[in-house]
C-alpha cells in the first residue's frame, strides 16, 4: 500500500471529472426539485382556478391603488432581483468573488423588501375584513386561495433570502464554489418565475374595473 493511500491529502490532478448524468449532480438535484415545486404551484393555481370558475359570486375587490400598484412594485423588485442574481452568477463563474458577494447581497435585499411589502399588503387586507374563510365581498374561499398561494410563495422567498445570505457570506470569505452560486441562482429564478404566474391569476384577474 502506498503512502498516498494512507494520507488525507489533496487528490492528484487528472482529467476533468464529468458527471454521467450530463449535468453536475447538485445542479440536476436542484432542477428536479424545481420541477416538483413547479408542479406543486401548478396544482395550487389549478385549484384556485377550479374554485373561481365554479363560483357564482367570486369577488373582484382589488383596486388599482393600493393593490395593483403594490403588485407592480413587487413585480419590479422581483424581476430586478432576477437580474442581480444573474450578474452574481456571472461574477462567480469568472472568479470575481467580491462582485458575486455584492450582487448576491443586492438580491437578498430585494427579496427582503418584497417580503415586507407582501406582509404589509396582507395586513391591509386583514384590516379590510378579509379572512381565510370569509370576507365582506363574496365567496368565502377567496381569502383561503389568496393567502395560501401568496403565503407559499412568500415561504419560498424567505428560504431564498436565507440561502442567498449564506452563499454570499461564503463568497466573501472565499469558500464559495461557482456551482453553489449558480444553484442558488436557479432557485431564485424559479421563485420569480412562479410570481410571473401568481400576479396575473391571483391579483390581476381579481381587479375591480
Amino acid at each position: 500500500m502506498r503512502q498516498s493511500d494512507l494520507t488525507m491529502g489533496p487528490r492528484p490532478a487528472g482529467p476533468a471529472r464529468s458527471s454521467p448524468l450530463v449535468m453536475p449532480t447538485k445542479k440536476l438535484a436542484m432542477w428536479l426539485f424545481l420541477i416538483a415545486d413547479a408542479l406543486t404551484f401548478a396544482v395550487c393555481l389549478l385549484a384556485y382556478g377550479f374554485l373561481r370558475n365554479g363560483s357564482a359570486n367570486w369577488p373582484t375587490p382589488f383596486k388599482f391603488f393600493p393593490t395593483a400598484v403594490n403588485a407592480m412594485v413587487m413585480t419590479f423588485i422581483l424581476i430586478t432581483s432576477s437580474l442581480t442574481i444573474s450578474l452574481g452568477v456571472r461574477a462567480a463563474k469568472i472568479g470575481d468573488q467580491d462582485a458575486a458577494f455584492r450582487w448576491t447581497m443586492f438580491t437578498a435585499a430585494g427579496g427582503a423588501v418584497f417580503a415586507l411589502l407582501q406582509i404589509r399588503e396582507w395586513m391591509e387586507m386583514v384590516d379590510q375584513g378579509m379572512r381565510l374563510l370569509h370576507n365582506p365581498w363574496g365567496n368565502g374561499l377567496f381569502g383561503a386561495t389568496f393567502f395560501s398561494i401568496t403565503g407559499l410563495h412568500l415561504a419560498h422567498v424567505s428560504v431564498g433570502i436565507i440561502v442567498l445570505i449564506i452563499v454570499g457570506m461564503r463568497c466573501k470569505s472565499g469558500r464559495s464554489d461557482p456551482d453553489d452560486v449558480e444553484i442558488t441562482g436557479l432557485y431564485w429564478q424559479f421563485v420569480n418565475l412562479v410570481w410571473m404566474f401568481v400576479v396575473p391569476f391571483v391579483y390581476l384577474l381579481n381587479v375591480s374595473k
Partner: protein, 120 residues
C-alpha cells in the same frame, strides 16, 4: 494542484452583461403588458388566456436565458420538458367538473343512480 475554479463542474457558459440587460428589459415590458391586459374591458376568459400567453413567454425567457436551460444538454432538457408538460396537461382534466359546479348541477353518478331508482 486542482484549484476550486478548475474543479467546479459549472457549465462553461458565461452570459454577457448586454444579454442579461436585454432579457431583463424584455421581461419588464411583458410584465407591464400584463397589467395593461388586466384593465382591458373584455371577457374574463379572453383576459385569462392573454395573460397566460404573456406569462408563458416571460417564463420562457427566464428559463432559457436567466436559468441557462438553453445551454444545457438537449436530450436532458427535452425529456424534462416532455414529462413536465405531460403532467401539467394531465392536471387539466378537472375543468369540466368546475363548469358543473358553476351550474350547481348534480354529479353525473348521482343523476344516473336517481334515474335507476325512479324506474323501479
Amino acid at each position: 494542484m486542482v484549484t476550486r475554479q478548475q474543479d467546479s463542474e459549472a457549465a462553461p457558459y458565461v452570459a454577457t452583461l448586454g444579454k442579461c440587460l436585454l432579457v431583463y428589459i424584455c421581461i419588464l415590458i411583458l410584465a407591464g403588458l400584463q397589467f395593461v391586459i388586466a384593465y382591458q374591458h373584455v371577457a374574463v376568459t379572453a383576459t385569462l388566456f392573454r395573460m397566460l400567453a404573456v406569462a408563458i413567454i416571460e417564463a420562457g425567457l427566464a428559463v432559457v436565458f436567466f436559468m441557462h436551460l438553453g445551454s444545457e444538454n438537449r436530450t436532458l432538457v427535452t425529456w424534462i420538458a416532455v414529462v413536465t408538460l405531460f403532467v401539467l396537461a394531465a392536471m387539466q382534466y378537472s375543468w369540466t367538473d368546475s363548469f358543473r359546479t358553476e351550474r350547481d348541477a348534480a354529479p353525473s353518478y348521482r343523476s344516473s343512480s336517481n334515474q335507476g331508482e325512479a324506474s323501479q
